[in-house]
Symmetry: none
Subunit: 116 residues, 2 copies
């Protein structure tokens, strides 16, 4: 897995990491079931702190892209999902929210509530 980090960038390292890995997963460059490098190994090879890697991994876990298990590592979740018409529904929600001047944070709160 080819990952390049720019320490000078305004976007945080852990975000660059998550973005890079996320792209690899979605594009299928890393297959489902495959294991990502151990956090400490990746940290060493990229010369960043373990926490930075773990934070990126945990973000991807929250998005459902990977599974994290102690002793096993980070495994790419099965079925890189095709979000299909979900994106269309999202677009309409966002458009509507924009029109009513609902800020992103409020929208997120509303959606979270609806989810429960």
């Amino acid at each position: 897995m080819l990952i390049r980090l720019d320490p000078a960038s305004a976007t945080p390292l852990f975000d660059q990491l998550a973005g890079s890995i996320r792209a690899s997963i979605i594009s299928g460059r890393v297959a489902a079931g495959e294991r990502l490098p151990a956090a400490r190994d990746l940290a060493t090879s990229l010369d960043v702190n373990v926490h930075t890697i773990l934070r990126a991994y945990q973000e991807l876990r929250d998005e459902g892209l990977i599974e994290l298990r102690r002793g096993r590592g980070a495994i790419v979740a099965s079925a890189p999902r095709d979000f299909g018409d979900l994106t269309a529904a999202i677009d309409s929600v966002v458009a509507e929210a924009r029109a009513s001047g609902v800020p992103p944070a409020a929208l997120a709160a509303l959606i979270r509530e609806a989810y429960q």
Copy 2:
């Protein structure tokens, strides 16, 4: 704000914290617009690390319960109003997301992206 932590508990400190504060917000014991203690202050008074507090705060922010801003602190978000049409659109998005097994965090990420 009365917060009690049990270091011996199986549930992590940051989760106990988030849970306690979440309950206070939802029950209305802390009003919207009110400011939570500065992370460092709370850390000192509870005798835990600042990171532990910040992690709890960030969890609550992800849930839309508070807003975090540098230099300002953690402010309890205003209760989500009823946004009319928007709620219908939200319901359909959430329904689709559920059907496709898209977890809340992933949905939030997609929406954030769409918003930009």
